[in-house]
């Protein structure tokens, strides 16, 4: 068996929705991660979707599964004096504590950073919360969409006439956990080198905010807010070879006019090979297609008269290109187009990802021979491949599965 990068590292986590993925990253890399859960489990075990046939079973929430692989589960009621003491001994047996409780919750139970640090100076204590441990909003209630809103990314997503869009997949929680994992690793390396532990404080609002892309700097330099532009995106009008396009069984994204890979004439070659070029080999279409790229467009826009003479022909070109792709499945358009070095992306649906050629050929998906609920299943693999110390995604724990064994060894 291969070595593990975090061999010998013990993590105790008091986490629910925000910090679980941080613990998962460490667990998949080989740390022993023990999740301390309240009786009945936290919120994550009770939200859907569930394994079909196991609805509302705390062991069968896929929302729990995806953020809690490779962990152990111990149930303790932290409102009981005995359990508090047990949790304290557990935490002090660890190299790392990860928690995402409301600020002050663990401190009130003798499990705060100051309490544990005093008894074990080398301990790394990572707090992953909506707004961090300090500041006027530290005690604010938080759930993922609140972080996405306050962190500045929702205002950039969606049609201008719609409400701002949330990004799917609890991305504020994910961002907080990923930043927490980086901070925890830095603190762990420091503790191993010097014996000095510390607190790592992560705010989900800040964690997601770098994903504003250029919005922050646009305000800083130009005092303008970037706004959401929906389907049109950053382009002023619907251009051939750019944008979201409906195909036979779904959607693709074209970005052929970007300065990478082939250009529109290469797309026209492909259409001609399949006899679908229509009249695009005729003027004025041929010349427009030959010229169309981002640089030419920028120039064109500075001359309104010339721009108008070109723009009137774009809908027809769009229509012919649209007809060409409408005859293909999303996967055909993606794979055939990319083989021709045309910048085309499939708008993958979950099934497309499950069947994705690259992921399958590289054996990315893993298998849980024994799932926490239901029959054996396939599951997404880890985010990275380490040649000497691979990350291994093992099944998530059933609620309290390891209570007895872990407490007996304490």
């Amino acid at each position: 068996m291969a070595d593990r990068a975090l061999e010998g590292v013990r993590v105790i986590e008091f986490t629910d929705e925000v910090g679980s993925y941080c613990g998962r990253l460490l667990a998949d890399l080989g740390a022993e991660v023990i999740k301390v859960e309240p009786p009945g489990g936290g919120r994550q075990r009770h939200v859907g979707p569930f394994v079909t046939g196991f609805e509302n079973d705390a062991d069968a929430s896929l929302a729990f599964w995806v953020h809690n692989t490779s962990k152990k589960s111990v149930v303790l009621d932290l409102d009981l004096p005995n359990a508090k003491e047990t949790a304290r001994r557990l935490a002090l047996s660890a190299d790392i504590v990860i928690e995402d409780c409301p600020v002050g919750y663990l401190g009130a139970r003798g499990l705060g950073y100051e309490d544990l640090h005093a008894l074990k100076p080398s301990l790394v204590y990572t707090s992953v919360t909506g707004f961090g441990q300090t500041g006027p909003h530290a005690n604010w209630a938080y759930s993922d969409i609140v972080g996405q809103a306050m962190g500045g990314i929702m205002t950039l997503a969606g049609e201008p006439t719609d409400p701002p869009n949330m990004i799917y997949g609890r991305q504020a929680d994910i961002s907080a956990s990923i930043h927490a994992a980086q901070g925890t690793m830095i603190a762990l390396l420091h503790a191993e080198a010097t014996g000095e532990g510390q607190r790592v404080d992560v705010s989900a609002q800040e964690a997601v905010s770098m994903s504003q892309e250029t919005a922050m700097q646009t305000w800083d330099f130009q005092k303008k807010n970037r706004t959401r532009t929906g389907e049109t995106g950053s382009l002023p009008l619907k251009l051939p070879g750019a944008g979201t396009l409906k195909v036979k069984d779904g959607y693709i994204l074209l970005f052929i006019i970007a300065p990478a890979g082939g250009d529109l004439p290469d797309l026209l070659d492909w259409m001609r090979e399949e006899g679908k070029q229509d009249d695009l080999d005729d003027e004025p279409y041929r010349t427009i297609i030959g010229n169309m790229n981002m640089g030419w467009l920028t120039q064109l826009m500075s001359n309104p008269a010339e721009a108008a003479s070109v723009i009137q022909h774009l809908p027809h070109i769009n229509e012919v290109i649209g007809r060409f792709f409408a005859g293909k499945t999303a996967r055909e358009a993606y794979e055939q187009g990319q083989e021709r070095r045309l910048l085309i992306g499939i708008v993958s649906r979950p099934q497309d990802l499950a069947e994705n050629t690259q992921l399958r050929e590289r054996n990315w998906y893993v298998r849980f021979p024994e799932a926490p609920a239901g029959p054996p299943v396939e599951f997404p693999g880890p985010p990275y491949r380490l040649s000497e110390t691979p990350a291994v995604v093992a099944r998530p724990p059933r609620l309290g599965e390891h209570t007895e064994a872990v407490l007996a060894a304490l």
Partner: protein, 418 residues
Amino acid sequence: MSKKPLEGLRVGDFSWFGAGPIAGNTLAQFGAEVIRVESEAKPDGLRRAHPFAMNPDGTFKGGFNVSGYYNNFNAGKLSLQLNLNEEKGQEIGYRLIEKCDFFLTNFTPRVIDKWNLRYEQIAKVNPKIIAAYAPMQGMEGPHRDYLGFGAVLTPVTGISEMSGFPNRPPFGIGTNYPDYVVNPGHTVTAMLAALRYRNRTGKGQCVELPQLESVVNTLGTAVPEHLINGTNPTRTGNRHPSYSPHGAFRCADDPESVNSPDRWVAIACRDEAEWLAAAAVLGHAELAGDGRFNSPVARKANEDELETLINSLTRERNANELCAALQAAGVPAGVVQHAQDMLDRDEHIRARGYYQYVDHPEAGREAHDGPVAVLSQTPGSVPGPAPLMGEHTMDVCERIIGLTMDEIADLLAEGVLM
């Protein structure tokens, strides 16, 4: 000032655009010496991308050094201008790698092959190197050479299909989202795990982060739902499978929000207590007992109606005041903030000192994203301005690589260094 925790570690940052440079940026914030290898012959596109710093007369500054996009991801790095298309340039690259603890890139395998920067090649000159590769699809496999420029990763990884309202086409989320936290953050996590392994065993290794795998791994439950339940779920807007209400609700306009006057408050009620409190703050406590809304199942069943009703109750409210009132009642709520809010008006972010300002010799005073992880004993910080293109070519060649002034002069004359 205390020593930063990654001081003494050196990173050869052979990356460009977002995902690679941001990984280097985080390492630099915590004290690593990061050398950005770049070239005017094939410049990082972000050096030429908006937003640019402005002159006092309102015109944009020009050149390679004034993009806020680039500068924010490359703070405090050293810039070495090296032409890796030349064999001699590749030799200098190897000599730099010999002196590094980490190698970092997000170029495609096609470019890595052209520059002879495969792990097997660089491990020959530095067996202890931790080499991180973050290509879009992976270093191997049938799609390894697929183009991944810009906006394509979001649709390919499923984010576009799963995000936004179901009555809209899957046009994405307005940014190249995975570039900024998910991919660089995973990369750094893996690099530091590999460093721990090297500390214990003396062995380096290759860390590969196929961006496709990194992002699909964080795509909520979408793919497991297909693998396990055989369903093919799609986007549901701002809704949640169990929590309700859950969305962004329109408030009174704010004319002081520059070119973005519409204001929204996000509300997430995770249980009955939060819903009761929210209904009271909205001025209609009786809603909580209304048969259409008195349980999570009822609210999910009548969600269109519920959302219309809430919008009618929020539309005239001031967003910040409504948010504060909801929070005071214990309801998870937040204003949909824009950059003006984040930089100028959010008192919490200011109190925490998240944004840090540095003076850049060409761009002027500029805001940077600070370290997100706040370490109590060994904090990171924005280490300084981003480098000018090639600013440290001489320094890196002389001090780190160990070239003589004569050798440097020859390489400059030959166009290997710039």
